[in-house]
Symmetry: D2
Subunit: 191 residues, 4 copies
């Protein structure tokens, strides 16, 4: 495993600002590691509610199948955090989000994580094809990291392409939806 380095804010096309809370701090006077995931969850769902492609009451639901986070430097209440959000992969029913957590006005991420959502039927909890409106909303956050030499060969500025040293940033270890769907029968709806 290559240890990823903290990214800059320009790697993320969308941001949400979240305030910290006193109880986020644990005995070490830093925000507890668990709380970062509540920010990921919030950034992702706020985007989808804002875009009008997720309803809390009806339609498909999005179940989380995998999350992860790397922590670079501490955050403490009363810091404010800025959550950068991008889409690294869009499958038939799944999406891999990547999130950068930036503390106050610092340029480098304090933490980076990923969050894989699968669109499911609200009743059966079985994966279903992502609706077109959701896909369109997620495409707007899609980012493809390219290497600087690609920049030379292809100078056209395309939306969703961030030019940078792709070899040094956290690569999207793409969630393999095809393999994963074959295993789905082992997933049970508990109640």
């Amino acid at each position: 495993m290559t240890r990823p380095v903290p990214e800059a804010r320009d790697r993320y096309p969308h941001f949400l600002t979240i305030t910290t809370r006193w109880m986020d701090n644990d005995v070490y006077s830093h925000v507890n590691n668990v709380v970062y995931y509540s920010w990921f969850d919030t950034a992702v769902n706020e985007y989808m509610l804002r875009e009008g492609v997720l309803s809390m009451d009806q339609g498909p639901i999005c179940l989380v199948v995998e999350t992860g986070c790397q922590y670079f430097s501490a955050i403490s209440f009363p810091d404010t955090v800025h959550c950068g959000l991008r889409v690294a992969h869009l499958g038939a029913s799944s999406v891999r989000f990547e999130i950068g957590i930036f503390r106050n006005d610092e340029p480098a991420a304090a933490a980076q994580g990923h969050f894989v959502h699968v669109c499911c039927d609200r009743v059966t909890h079985r994966p279903i094809a992502m609706r077109e409106d959701m896909r369109a909303a997620l495409e707007k956050l899609r980012v493809m990291l390219v290497k600087p030499r690609d920049k030379l060969a292809n100078p056209v500025k395309r939306p969703g392409v961030i030019v940078g040293d792709a070899g040094r940033v956290a690569q999207a270890k793409t969630f393999d939806e095809a393999k994963w769907r074959k295993k789905w029968p082992t997933r049970r709806k508990s109640r």
Copy 2:
């Protein structure tokens, strides 16, 4: 990425039982994905406090540098969860824990995760060598997964060796402490 399959309880040498709470459930009436990490955090720290190798007031502290979770099936309040804990890697100052979350009396994990702790100086937050008492406590949870054919060749039952189809379980993608330490200067103590 190979999608891991849910493991059985016998892959974990230590368990902690945790009760769920009403507010753990989110709008989908399932325990929210974030809450699982509070269980990881609890299982790891409870073990170290129980073994007397971690103090909340003095001595080294353990900072979290990486966590992750895969979710297989839902858990809902008022379920009880049983957290299986093992050590997959012990470095000079770091440890990779792996945790299996088992719902009520179900045999297969509802979720599996990992949690990488680094021993640090309480004041400077710089990595330091793990104390021997902590290492000894963690060695008791160390597990090496071997393949069934190894079982035939080496029928001696060794502590810390769990015989199974190692090819099918979640492999410890070993946290590379050496590479990671070189990057440490980029980690700042924020306050």
Copy 3:
């Protein structure tokens, strides 16, 4: 206001055991004051689910209109808490629960609180008469504190009567449902 004194366990007819979590502790290495309310919420709802009188998916819902807590002594992870639960008042649609929080095997409460639930229609969020099955379940937890002299005058042991120095314990400042219902029109369902 008379400062209440910590009660003993025999003032509570029902108990639920809850495990603490590492992140419950705040910067003072004690369980944060907020977390106690999650225990109240859990003890109340667990009882109603256990009795089969509350469903997460259908039927009336119970909205919280008032809560409160007095803190006597600290609790810290990895303590276990035992939540004593009693019903101090049952109205046409409301119920006032009182909860005692006992740390590990300590005889006196570390904290005491109350929790007022109102039965409401799931869609309109308007108060409705409590169903008889819920009332019957709550009656089992109903406790009337009587003074020692009442004990002499009425030596018959009645269910739900706890004999004690009622003047010294936290009196149920009964939630006045009649007055409160007149104000209900000011309560809005936000979304």
Copy 4:
């Protein structure tokens, strides 16, 4: 008990804006009742940190001895909340804060609560006299509600006096520090 009516924003001299999180919502798609207390805790401590009269690492600590909340109308993620803060009583070592929770741009409080802090020695956890700098900071939030007829008799606008129908708002049931201190020996520092 008179049921208090929701107050307006002008009853609070200080505000803090807090963002909601996806996991704040519970199974009823509303922010869970417990979460409101995390906002109280945050508004109080943020004010004291901002004023430079509380340190997470040294000096006196503030322990919570009593909290309470009345809920008028629902709040749901992704709402933003504005926490109004005032001081209703300042004793020798204690302070009673009152907090109004306002949803988005609504004029009337969605919830109102109180929060009693006692200044204590960081090591012994015994009450100590409040430092003058903390007292001065809290005096700035002190509010005395007066009746409209007092307004006529005393037209001078004094700082900290909010003119209104004091009979209709939640009166500060003043925390009786003198009585309470006599009971302090029953409070134990658990660990």
